[in-house]
């Protein structure tokens, strides 16, 4: 294939990738978008296979079959609740692939037209080392994120004194190594960059707590894009540069949205040390405040006599796998002529949009599911807010108490609903360690049980009523 023709083909592939992202603007066009993405990938791969330097196909075919089989099996088997760790694992593979491609280019620069071994153009060396470093950081960082999400290691932040100083020192050391590598071009220095970057990736993710994982995953998503970009510059491949930039900015935007959802600055999250997997803060003195406790029958009765119900699901609902029982409950209520909708907080899951996928999997129609901005005003005109497995995202102190750690965080205004029903295992505070004043209000009723068990009990109670 001539160079001009392949350049056009890569451009076509890039346009397909842009269309793939564009398709995600609505669930109606999203599947078509995914097809565009697949088409773009096929075009890019075929174009490369037709390049004059690609002559032997056995290893390539073997690699694609092995990798493709593994990827297909994993993608078909994975539970939707495990989606965040899957994405983290996939990010690590992109990072590692970037490292290996850079290594290949370093050992055989002639194949990429960037010089001969031992005499590679300096610009290419710089691009190569940037791609390698970001790739290695993405790799180890994603492995840590995966281990935390999968529960292989504790989600609690790992902090030690001098941590930030150490990270800063290693960062400077990395810059020094890159400069040295560009002058010396020795393989040893190349692998030293890989190892050091890997260590940095590890160190920057361990201090970040389990509850901040949505930001971490988005950030690693962004990194994997920039790594691809760095490699794209080395290989002078526009498709790779464009795709890397798209992915990089996408991840950056998602990180920003997640930070905003928690009212945290990006640096605050990165510097870490905030929030463990569970409510580590322990028991907050409740004093002599009393709560109204109810049974499944009470909940069923209240909701059955309401005109409208807004369900607020949180991560606790996903952990308990209550989404199917919850959807069944909603179906029964809808059959009674009650208007049911779902309100989703931006950080309701463990990754951006996670809760929407979990509800969609339980066959909740997407036009009953609303984002915070579009539904918040409706709480005032709603009879019942049914909060299940969520806590901090409904706490009004975020609006009223400047001293609270969650002050300024956007919350769902469930307090404005006629009655608030809370399904929660205990009165313990959320991960932010803040007591929720809603629990003690007169129009609040608490249901202390597992989210799934309670939803099933309510379904049964509704059935017998």
């Amino acid at each position: 294939m001539s160079e001009n023709l392949s350049a056009f083909a890569y451009l076509l592939a890039s346009v397909c990738f842009i269309m793939a992202l564009r398709g995600l603007s609505s669930p109606l066009t999203a599947r078509m978008g995914n097809i565009y993405g697949i088409a773009g990938m096929v075009i890019a791969v075929v174009t490369t296979l037709a390049a004059p330097t690609v002559l032997s196909f056995t290893m390539i075919l073997l690699g694609m079959v092995i990798g493709g089989a593994i990827g297909t099996v994993i993608a078909l088997k994975i539970e939707m609740t495990a989606l965040p760790q899957l994405v983290a694992a996939f990010h690590s593979l992109v990072g590692l692939a970037a490292v290996f491609v850079a290594a290949a280019a370093f050992y055989e620069p002639a194949a990429y037209g960037i010089g001969v071994a031992g005499d590679i153009a300096v610009a290419s060396l710089v691009e190569m080392s940037i791609g390698t470093a970001i790739g290695a950081i993405t790799f180890t960082g994603s492995i840590v994120a995966f281990a935390k999400l999968q529960g292989l290691v504790s989600g609690a932040p790992v902090v030690f004194s001098g941590q930030h100083a150490l990270n800063a020192f290693l960062g400077l050391l990395l810059v020094g190594l890159v400069v040295w590598f560009c002058g010396e071009e020795s393989p040893m220095l190349f692998w030293a960059i890989v190892l050091l970057s890997g260590a940095i990736g590890l160190l920057i993710i361990i201090p970040i707590g389990g509850a901040d994982m949505p930001v971490v995953i988005s950030m690693l998503n962004s990194y994997s894009g920039w790594a691809a970009c760095g490699i794209g510059f080395t290989l002078a491949n526009p498709a790779l540069i464009i795709t890397g930039a798209l992915v990089g900015s996408s991840g950056a935007i998602l990180s920003y949205i997640m930070c905003k959802g928690m009212n945290r600055s990006f640096f605050n999250v990165i510097l870490g040390g905030f929030g463990g997997e569970d409510a580590a803060a322990g028991v907050v003195a409740t004093g002599d405040k009393t709560v109204r406790q109810g049974s499944a029958e009470d909940a069923a009765f209240i909701m059955k006599n309401a005109g409208s119900v807004i369900i607020v699901p949180g991560y606790g609902m996903a952990v308990a796998q209550a989404q199917h029982a919850l959807r069944e409950m909603a179906e029964l209520l809808k059959a009674e002529g009650i208007k049911v909708s779902y309100a989703i907080h931006p950080v309701a899951g463990r990754m951006p949009g996670h809760m929407n996928v979990l509800l969609a999997e339980a066959n909740v129609p997407y036009d009953e599911v609303f984002e915070l901005e579009s539904i918040n005003r409706d709480f005032a005109s709603t009879d019942v807010a049914f909060v299940i497995g969520a806590n901090d995202v409904t706490n009004p102190v975020a609006k009223t108490d400047p001293a609270s750690p969650i002050y300024g965080m956007p919350i769902l205004d469930v307090e404005n609903a006629g009655t608030v029903l809370f399904v929660k295992r205990s009165l313990s505070p959320g991960y932010a360690g803040v007591d929720n004043v809603l629990f003690y209000r007169d129009n609040t009723m608490m249901f202390f049980d597992d989210a799934k068990a309670m939803s099933e009990d309510i379904v049964n109670a509704l059935g017998t009523m």
Binding site: A20, L21, L24, S25, P27, A30, R31, G33, N34, M41, A44, T53, V54, L55, S56, M59, I60, L62, G63, I66, G67, I70, I74, A75, L83, L86, F90, L93, V94, L96, A97, F100, V101, A104, A105, Y107, E108, A111, Y112, A123, I217, N221, S224, I231, F233, L235, A236, A239, L240, A245, G248, S250, G251, I253, M351, P352, N356, V357, P365, E368
Partner: protein, 135 residues
């Protein structure tokens, strides 16, 4: 007689040498010209690719903001799948006939990127097929 032969040979050699020298000179000129072009072209290519890079960031910025928040998870898995276009670098490395370090690295990268491509697109498709409208 012997001397004549030697002189003849010598003059022949001298002629050859002269021709070679001219050729070498021409080559030198060509090389320096190419070098100049390469230097010049090198700077230009970087700027060219950098322009693409910056414009692509802007495209990404506006396209991603238009993605509905409900589809942020599929957005992640799709971007993850398409970032595996890094496989093009792996294919070039794995392409030559002769075995080398580079070819082995390329092979590993092909496997890793393929896991991602197939896994990423399939899991995205699975997710997206779940999003249904009210009946």
């Amino acid at each position: 007689m012997e001397t004549d032969k030697i002189v003849e040979q010598a003059s022949g050699l001298a002629k050859n040498a002269k021709a070679l020298a001219t050729e070498a000179e021409a080559l030198m000129a060509r090389v320096s010209q190419l070098n100049l072009q390469a230097d010049h072209g090198g700077a230009d290519t970087f700027v060219f690719y950098f322009s693409i890079f910056v414009l692509a960031i802007f495209v990404g910025y506006y396209v991603v903001w238009s993605v509905t928040p409900a589809l942020h998870s599929p957005l992640m898995s799709v971007t993850n799948a398409i970032s595996s276009v890094i496989i093009v670098g792996a294919l070039i490395a794995a392409g030559p006939v002769d075995m080398s370090f580079s070819k082995v690295f390329g092979f590993i990268a092909v496997v890793l990127a393929s896991v991602n491509i197939f896994g990423g697109f399939i899991v995205s498709q699975r997710m997206l097929s779940m999003f249904k409208k009210k009946k």
